[in-house]
Symmetry: D2
Subunit: 356 residues, 4 copies
């Protein structure tokens, strides 16, 4: 109920604060007999970790995952996989200035109101550091999904948009630049933009597009747990996300039914795919694609007026090492959450045999 | 797991197909001692029901709810509330033409693939008729929420937008026109648009904006079950929804942190509210507002090429009585789902006493 | 959370009070494509229904189930199965005497304390009438389980015990007498006992033994959701149950390990079966057997001193039509709950493929 | 679904194998603001740990818990509490002899059948070592429950029974002897018995009685999640448990209703308490008491015939350091599980306000 678990058959529960001893989690329901590719898991963590390039926060954390259970001789055993990532670079003193101060557009105030207390160091539980645990679980989920391809990329930074549809992109280029945009020319503009913003002591938002390919027909439950509803919840649960749309999304609201309907080919595939690969909450075998909106990071390097826990107005001086734009590091998180959703539904799908 | 339940402490489970004996549901966890306003419940159903105006489907269904349990002498008893809405206007013969035919951008194909069978009459379980059960439960949830105000309205139909921010609207006017737009001049344009579209035998999409006011601070669970993530899932679970954004939404991605941050007043309220009333997944006491994208209805009155279950190409002739635009009838559904989310979190919040 | 659901993949949610309009439920997760045997379902209800013999309550209720959804052309569709059983013989006036009076060893007092109100007619929600909904769902679960045999029987009434081990019994005889004991000589004694007790205006307890055969290896989850833990919870959730033991049970506590261990045959079966078909919470392919303790029915036809809701001492005069011994009618309920547990785990087992 | 979580509002998820890196868990839903007594937590672990006396296994494990999150400046923060207990005394070589051999009445065979693999070292996940994580969570739950008293004790070892009813016992004496029986004379006999059994290289079963006092009225949900049903499941989920009874239990089946009914006092308390403090699944304010049956430990120091994974008959030579009787170390586990059940229902009860 307290909301630190995600999934049902492939269930991740996470724990940990930004500056506590460790973060980590338990994956319950990972099937037995899966030979894990540990390098692939660490690689996903590396895509998310701070300090990886000159357009992200310069904090250094090795973000090395340690597995404590559920794996024997390199294979999953079907029992819960416990894991930790120790926090090694906790400069807690950096945060004493926010101990009693509520940072604008952060969760300091709401945590204090809800819990009567908070671990203020680095944002505590509200820090996006928690998402490293999701990336670990997502990397394992990806290994279950095998042939299903999950590709997220930066589709906008501020007002710089990658206009090309995903079909015209080469996803293998996503990792070829630091902003994770698979079009190098646009990536260049985005990087320039982020550097300019950072120089101002400011931050900027952006969008991530994610494409799921080779998803078999039949994943998703058709009423409350529609496949796109779970994907939406998964994405909206990521820090700083303000919106989610799939298929034709908000643009589709301006269309007529005669324009929007996806006509069938004889094999059940469709000629167009404004539906975004899902009909009635169930995958139809076409590509699933969606877009996620990230707000600008709330921590800026400019002075801001704010209040403290006594309700007094105080001036807050921006400091610390923060991301000028969250999007480049969000790519592996978006992919991880998509993988968690798909793994859960793929396992659920397995029990739908009709052999009575 | 099969996804026909929503909520945890205030949990709705629904059943029923469009043309079966009845649809209905069970509300488990409604607190005891609540004197129900049955007229208010029926009124919400009336806002959703077909045949209510000349811009919606002309099917006639009385949509009268019968309560079977959980209520004694007009008050809730704390035990599950079972209810049914009988299907009275089932012209099943209308649907024999789709028995073996997959309607474009409907769930016929995916249901058949997933289940190996489907109740094809009127779309069966995939019909938005299921949402009548949600409206019943949402109407009860609203009665729990008392001072919290939930107001949804039509904010666009096709390319006709209500440009005014919600703060400039008088929600009491929403019900004063058939399209449920609280600005009568814009409503007039929307109605004209829908009528023109219908004349073409076509359909059109639109958006719904919803505003939640007087929400106490502290609702929502901060990691996977963020308040906006549950709202997003709730909305995306409604038939025909393609997108969800809250607060600054997709527009916020183009902003800088220095523009986007909501600075505090001394009392903890904020001067601006681009955050949309939620910080870190927890309500902060400001208005919560979000926008939901509805695609154009897939059933059009024009001929379309499609396939049958044998994979043969066939021509489908549009007929039946359908909505040219789903948005006017979606307003009470959006409100109902918002009420379900809030009721669940409000009950959860109650147990967070800090009196140890 | 309010506890009116049972199961996860094959989930039953029930509603209804003894003297409300109807009782019923929703089965969510029943696989698609199952051709239902409706006579078999009604037959299970008939085994449970009042008035079936001269040793049970003489109330008359037809207990006819009506299915509202989830079934099309005789087959399950994979969507939720809603059903109702209307209450036809509600002599509510019979219960006005307990409106303000707390019957000893009934749930009147605790319901009032918990909810601040209660539907006092016939015990309301606390009545065992609710179990009719379980029997419906259990009858469907049995049809999923096909080759698995579930046989419960009366193994004691008061101090009259059926001493024979289950292996020496012919389960086809269980229905040959009204007390449902598969040994007619012992059944005769039990029936005589119950009649004598009833003549005294009193009631008597008893035990039910249940045997599950042909259960495949591998059902059950090994830590908190051990197969026997779920069976135990299922049985303890039945009205009037005070205890549960499986395999060697309480007797096993007096044994030594060298006596208690079940040695293997070469094929993985075991020579003895004190374990009761479950090791580490997982079925091992041997017979599963357990025993359930039912207390004497609390409603007796004798006068009793008790209190009313004002805390005043009052004398209560037993009246109405009640069971002198709950056990004969509990047999189908025990079987139904066992079927629900097994169906849930059987579906869960299906997704444990190791084909990566 | 994989069953490694217990509870809903106060939810424990555990991980870890007997001889892996560590065992541990996550407690999700522990309320904020609770000042933890860490000594009390460690003390509970010490009551469970091996090597504590001369009648338990002589393995040495310090069983020191490390908290990783959810606690700040000594108080709970409302965020998940992650914790680990490192495995320090893993003599894995001790277990190479069971790598391919199925120990009688252990879970080796069923794990292999279910998962196709197992971590055979020390029983892996099926080892009762997992219960140390439960003891940690239970110790925190006890601190939430404050005035509620939870006292378990050894009530039998083999055929040596503590005949006194719990009302005649002084629970403060439970810890005064190594077998945890609060009657020193009977304890002496039990200890002598266990030592004799151990000398034979054999093991013995026993029972634990547990008494819950000062439980407020109103805990428990009345249909499937009856308070005693959850207690039963909790107890049956403990390794080696074969049975559970509460109140009059199996003995109550031999009684008449007129003997068994608990008559009320004017204040709502009852003169007798055969009901065991629960009516209709809801606590009534009287003492709750129940009894749990533990089988003899399956690992004996005698030679046994068994099979290997090839289905060949082999002789197994008992060795290693094992408990001759599990009961003394099970006392804190029983208490922990009872505390988890009560904490969950106590939090649930908090949200049942009737203030509408």
């Amino acid at each position: 109920m307290a909301g630190n678990s995600f999934g049902k058959l492939f269930k991740l529960t996470t724990f940990g604060e930004s500056h506590g001893v460790a973060i980590g989690g338990i994956i319950d329901g990972c099937p037995a007999g899966l030979t894990l590719d540990f390098d692939a898991i660490q690689n996903e963590l590396n895509r998310r970790k701070p300090g990886q390039s000159d357009i992200v926060t310069q904090r250094k954390e090795p973000d090395t995952v340690e597995f404590l259970s559920g794996i024997f001789e390199g294979k999953t055993t079907g029992t819960p996989i416990g894991f930790t990532i120790h926090n090694t670079n906790q400069k807690s003193k950096d945060y004493s200035h926010i101990k009693d101060t509520y940072r604008p557009s952060h969760a300091d105030y709401t945590y204090d109101q809800k819990y009567g207390t908070r671990d203020y160091r680095g944002g505590g539980r509200s820090s996006a550091r928690e998402t490293a645990s999701r990336v670990v679980a997502g990397a394992i989920a990806k290994q279950i999904l095998k042939d299903i391809k999950i590709n997220a990329y930066t589709s906008s930074v501020g007002d710089i948009y990658l206009e090309k549809p995903y079909q015209d992109l080469d996803f293998s280029k996503t990792e070829s630049n630091t902003v994770r945009c698979p079009d190098n020319a646009v990536a260049e503009q985005m990087i320039t933009k982020i550097k300019a913003i950072r120089k101002e002591g400011d931050t900027i938002g952006g969008t991530v597009t994610c494409v799921l390919q080779n998803v078999p027909v039949g994943l998703g439950e058709p009423v409350f747990d529609k496949l796109h509803a779970e994907l939406g919840k998964a994405m909206l649960s990521i820090n700083a996300v303000k919106g989610f749309e799939y298929g034709s999304g908000f643009c589709g609201t301006k269309m007529k039914g005669s324009e929007h309907n996806d006509l069938f080919n004889a094999d059940g595939s469709t000629k167009s795919n404004l539906s975004g690969g899902i009909q009635g909450g169930i995958s139809n075998g076409m590509d699933i694609y969606f877009r996620v909106a990230f707000k600008p990071v709330a921590t800026i390097m400019q002075n801001q007026d704010t209040i403290n826990s006594e309700g007094e107005m105080v001036e807050m001086h921006g400091k610390g090492r923060h991301d000028p734009c969250v999007v480049p590091r969000a790519i592996p998180i978006v992919e991880a959450m998509a993988a968690l959703v798909l793994a859960d539904y793929a396992l659920l799908r397995r029990q739908e045999s009709r052999d009575w």
